[in-house]
């Protein structure tokens, strides 16, 4: 029986594991989180997708992959490591009441009580609206959703949504009654408040802040898969440039599920899904376009604003460096425990530096774990 290993148990990984099991593979699914579902289904896979939890799949959660030797052998490897949020540094962004937009949502899904708390949501993208709707449902006072994109772009995007009535309905349902403002972005944070462009200083308990999503390309890059403009390069069957390695996910849930199924199925069952996947991909590209970052956001960080939170490197020490490598060598920017996962995407926007090469271990790990691998 051919074997398939799936890494990442979000919508794409779950769909991939299920599809691979359907075509008769022996499937193992690994995930770094304490439970399956990824970020979007943290706290439970919805009833409509419960079928993905096929009992024939061997599931191992809480598994962190830090190097290639640690990946169990399989005939086929499907990577579905998902995305993380992009953060842009602004004065005060390292204060403990500032979290990611998805970050605060994940914390609430993981048991953080939010009822009665004043929350300001800011950054960009449809995620802000989804997070606002979720936090409000859990009793938070969502004071403001401040979206950086210009009103004109959002208006045009919303008009285009008429072609996708289901999505328009979903957006209207999420946004109903929420104070959502375009052309608004964070200027600075102080203890217990956030100052938003055009809206002044707003007292709050938490700020949920995210500037779009960045693909977790570390593992595919480590395995030699080609990466282009922050995306894993794939063909129509979701094959990467390395034989037997597939990639799925990192967009909307709809697209992630389709890509997962295409990666997991055989060619015959995958092919009919191509048009739906391509349509979902086009929709995601329209979102990226509508919510692209405005140039003013490049000027938020002051010289003393910390860019690298692990090593406390201020923007002033980094911006005159030649490239990412020189910033690392001269300032230790990106050399701490997160290995540039947070400051890398920020500096990509602020300085135009592409991500640098990846080397194992891709996550900090104990020495005994590395020694175990050699035995």
């Amino acid at each position: 029986m051919p074997s398939t290993l799936v890494i990442g148990g979000g919508p794409a990984g779950l769909a991939a594991a299920w599809a691979a099991a359907q075509v008769g593979d022996q499937v193992t699914l690994l995930d770094d989180n304490p439970a399956l579902g990824g970020q979007i289904w943290r706290g439970g896979v919805p009833a409509a997708h419960q079928r993905f939890l096929d009992p024939s799949i061997t599931v191992r959660t809480g598994v962190q992959i830090h190097s290639a030797n640690q990946i169990p052998a399989a005939d086929r490897l499907i990577l579905a490591t998902g995305t993380r949020e992009r953060f842009l540094p602004f004065p005060g962004w390292t204060l403990p009441h500032i979290l990611g937009a998805g970050g605060l949502q994940a914390m609430v899904k993981s048991g953080l009580p939010i009822a009665g708390k004043r929350v300001v949501i800011t950054g960009t993208g449809p995620l802000l609206l989804a997070v606002g709707a979720y936090l409000r449902k859990r009793g938070a006072m969502v004071v403001l959703i401040a979206e950086q994109a210009p009103f004109s772009r959002i208006a045009q995007f919303t008009r285009e949504l008429w072609r996708e009535p289901a999505k328009l309905f979903q957006a209207a349902q999420l946004g109903w009654g929420l104070r959502y403002r375009a052309d608004a972005w964070p200027i600075r944070a102080d203890a217990g408040s956030i100052t938003i462009q055009g809206h002044g200083k707003i007292p709050c308990d938490y700020v949920a802040c995210g500037f779009g999503l960045v693909v977790n390309t570390e593992l595919p890059a480590l395995l030699g898969c080609a990466i282009d403009a922050g995306q894993v390069v794939t063909d129509s069957k979701q094959r990467t440039t390395i034989p037997h390695i597939y990639w799925a996910g990192a967009g909307s849930v709809d697209r992630s599920i389709l890509e997962g199924q295409i990666a997991g199925f055989d060619l015959e069952r995958a092919r009919p899904l191509y048009p739906a996947r391509d349509r979902a991909l086009r929709f995601d590209r329209r979102i990226d376009q509508a919510f692209r970052l405005r140039s003013e956001l490049s000027n938020l960080a002051a010289p003393d604003t910390i860019v690298c939170r692990c090593e406390d490197v201020p923007f002033g020490a980094v911006w005159q460096q030649r490239d990412w490598r020189s910033a690392k060598l001269q300032t230790r920017c990106g050399m701490g425990p997160c290995q540039g996962r947070i400051c890398g995407p920020a500096l990509e926007h602020l300085c135009g530096w592409p991500a640098s090469s990846v080397r194992p271990p891709i996550f900090p790990t104990r020495l005994e774990n590395l020694l175990d691998e050699r035995r």
């Binding site: 989180n33 914390m107 993981s110 997160c338 900090p364």
Partner: protein, 78 residues
């Protein structure tokens, strides 16, 4: 419910609560940065490493990726 201790203080949390969520209910800060700033979780998904705590004597554990278990001893750096 699950009983854990955070910096010696006893706390009861619902099953399925992560250590990060439990710590956040009682204090904002998790660690001190290399220059002494108070820090708490940012990403909530195991990427940023800002939520590191000592769990049952193991240092530098990511509290957002760990579920509370009965009797767990959590020590923060801040």
């Amino acid at each position: 419910m699950i009983r854990i201790t955070i910096n010696g203080r006893s706390l009861e949390v619902a099953a399925g609560t992560t250590v990060a969520a439990a710590v956040m209910t009682i204090q904002p800060g998790f660690r001190r940065s290399v220059s002494g700033e108070l820090r708490g979780p940012l990403c909530g998904m195991g990427i940023c490493m800002e939520c590191r705590v000592t769990l049952n004597g193991h240092r530098h554990e990511r509290s957002c990726q760990t579920l509370c278990t009965p009797g767990m001893e959590v020590v923060t750096d801040a």
